[in-house]
Symmetry: C2
Subunit: 339 residues, 2 copies
DNA sequence: AATTCATGCTTCATCGATTGAGCAAGCCTG
DNA sequence: CAGGCTTGCTCAATCGATGAAGCATGAATT
């Protein structure tokens, strides 16, 4: 099709020739600072019209190369398979565009190697700022960026070498656990510990949630055995497996579960449906994360919905203010049952 | 922090000086074609080591500016709020990286203006190829790209001026409708039409699904009234509203519904839960799209899961082969109940 | 000894946009 | 009418990477 005419793109030089002026004037007009450069309104208009007619589009590579700031903002994100990360990404894009920044996002499939690789690539593309969302090793990324003089902000999981914006995992888990314990007491009259399943025992969020989980039990005067806490990973299969193993070693299953993400919940629910256990009645569930369909699964479920708008507001607050301290902002999640 | 030392990035010139050689040699070594350029293995190794030590990263803007192909591949996508688009984006990234391409994705919030704006921006960033996913006006985008000599491929919704990869909407809807009709007949013994809700009446996919819906009814000898087809838009609120209106004008609600996306289903389910209707028993549902939690909502639901891996295989097949004809590839969705 | 050839580099123009410096013409001002 | 100021532009260097062309050096061939 276009093989014959390789569609040479219009440049400012082409426009300059057509307008009988210099590339410099064209550039000034097209990037809006023609007043500063004392270009007449007449010429400005002529150039603008020509550019439109010719379907001119700046070559960002050339433009970025010359300028000192690229106005590109990067984000790395683990997955796109749940509403939490989905809305983070959506809001990130909206807010970036509002500020005239160009967002580039890359998904690292929860692979630590890919995370670093992705960060490096983004630096190659001259991002002005990089948001590391749910990164396994945020400090490694912060170091990489510091070496290139690029700002980093951690989101969802905190780091020590850049400002962080996270959920109040402790507070959220504390309240969530309280509610599920109360639900169990109300319906079944039991005062037994819940089973904590999902997440990585090494990550900050999971540790904080476990702490909240423990404290809520302590408040209620319920002892929690080590075996009742299985941070087996986030994947559905892993959570499903943890449930299977739990069932294998206890005669009476717990009447309440604390599930550490919707993704893990996927596995838990699958197991509940197909294992035949809990046929005498659904256990009370608490899920640290929100999903609209989970909310419809029944009245036995409470969720902690992380407050994505507030979190992103905090992130861009840091960006806009240029704050440099490595503090951690904790945003309370919204706790509720079926909405 | 780095305010004092603006962290001047290392360039090939810096490395050249350190290695006592020329920038040209450094470039040749670092981008791998030093054999072609007859650089000695000794020098190559020295430069490589130095680059590593200095934490050198190519400036892609400069590199892309110079080369004729950018190896950047763009995708525009309507939303990240459902599993379908989420997995499209994930797989797109994986496959792009496999081919040494740099994926950039942008979400247009189903806004036709933003779609065009986003396409224009991507062209500015010199994408080699643009995938328009679920675009309202794919041909407009195709024209823009053609003007810049950039390939486009339509995904999810077809266009006339670029190759397209879509689901077999007709076939999927036909089979889905058949199953829901059969379920209704089995459980309730009724031979009444389903209610079609969600989607945009103007888009190809919805029209094809309506066609499948109609043909399945015709097969079963069931007449379908115009009012039973409400392509009211995708948003949950719109679907919820359509249900409300349906209930307001009929005395007996249909025993089966065809819901045109999980997003619309969100609204439908909400209405079912809170309106008080259907308290005598859930209607049989068919949903054109898949979600793991929807699959757990009960045994009254059938889903058409669009085959994302196959679709992306087709997309990259077209990219790899360089095919130029504007044909439409239709990939059959996977139909099933609770998985 | 003269010529050819391979090897291992360096030089320099180039991609397109940006911007500091500079220049010419017109207009005031004293 | 000389000197200064404003207006409206152009020139040319620059950002960093790339690759065609060219230039030494030494080895091989005639």
């Amino acid at each position: 099709m276009n093989r014959t005419t390789p569609a040479k793109r219009t440049t400012i030089y082409d426009l300059a020739e057509l307008a009988g002026t210099s590339a410099s004037a064209v550039s000034a007009v097209l990037n809006g600072n023609w007043k500063k450069r004392r270009i007449s309104a007449k010429l400005a208009e002529r150039i603008t019209k020509l550019a439109e007619e010719q379907g001119y589009a700046v070559n960002m590579q050339a433009s970025v190369l010359r300028r000192e700031r690229s106005k590109i903002i990067g984000m790395i994100v683990p997955k796109y398979d749940n509403r939490y990360f989905g809305s983070i990404v959506e809001q990130f894009e909206v807010r970036a565009r509002e500020r005239g920044l160009f967002p580039i996002i890359t998904c690292t499939m929860r692979d630590p190697e890919l995370e670093v690789e992705a960060a490096r690539t983004m630096l190659s593309y001259q991002v002005d700022c990089l948001i590391a969302t749910g990164a396994t090793d945020p400090d490694r990324i912060a170091d990489l960026c510091a070496g290139a003089g690029v700002r980093t902000i951690n989101l969802d999981l905190p780091g020590a070498r850049a400002p962080s914006v996270i959920s109040d995992n402790y507070g959220g888990a504390l309240e969530l656990t309280r509610r599920v314990l109360a639900n169990c007491r109300r319906e079944y009259g039991v005062k037994a510990p819940l089973f904590f399943v999902g997440g990585r025992g090494t990550d900050h969020n999971t540790m904080e949630r476990v702490r909240g989980f423990r404290d809520a039990h302590a408040e209620a005067g319920i002892a929690v055995d080590e075996a009742m806490i299985q941070a087996c990973g986030y994947a559905p299969e892993k959570a499903e497996n943890a449930m299977r193993q739990l069932a294998a070693r206890t005669s009476t299953l717990p009447r309440g579960l604390f599930v550490n993400s919707t993704i893990s919940l996927e596995g838990v629910m699958r197991w509940i449906r197909y294992s035949g256990h809990y046929s005498d009645g659904m256990p009370h569930l608490g899920c640290f994360d929100w999903d609209p369909f989970v909310a419809m699964l029944g009245d036995h479920i409470e969720m902690a919905r992380q407050d994505v708008p507030k979190m992103l507001e905090a992130v861009f607050g840091i960006i806009d203010s240029g704050a440099g301290d490595f503090s951690v902002v904790e945003v309370p999640p919204i706790i509720g049952g079926v909405d």
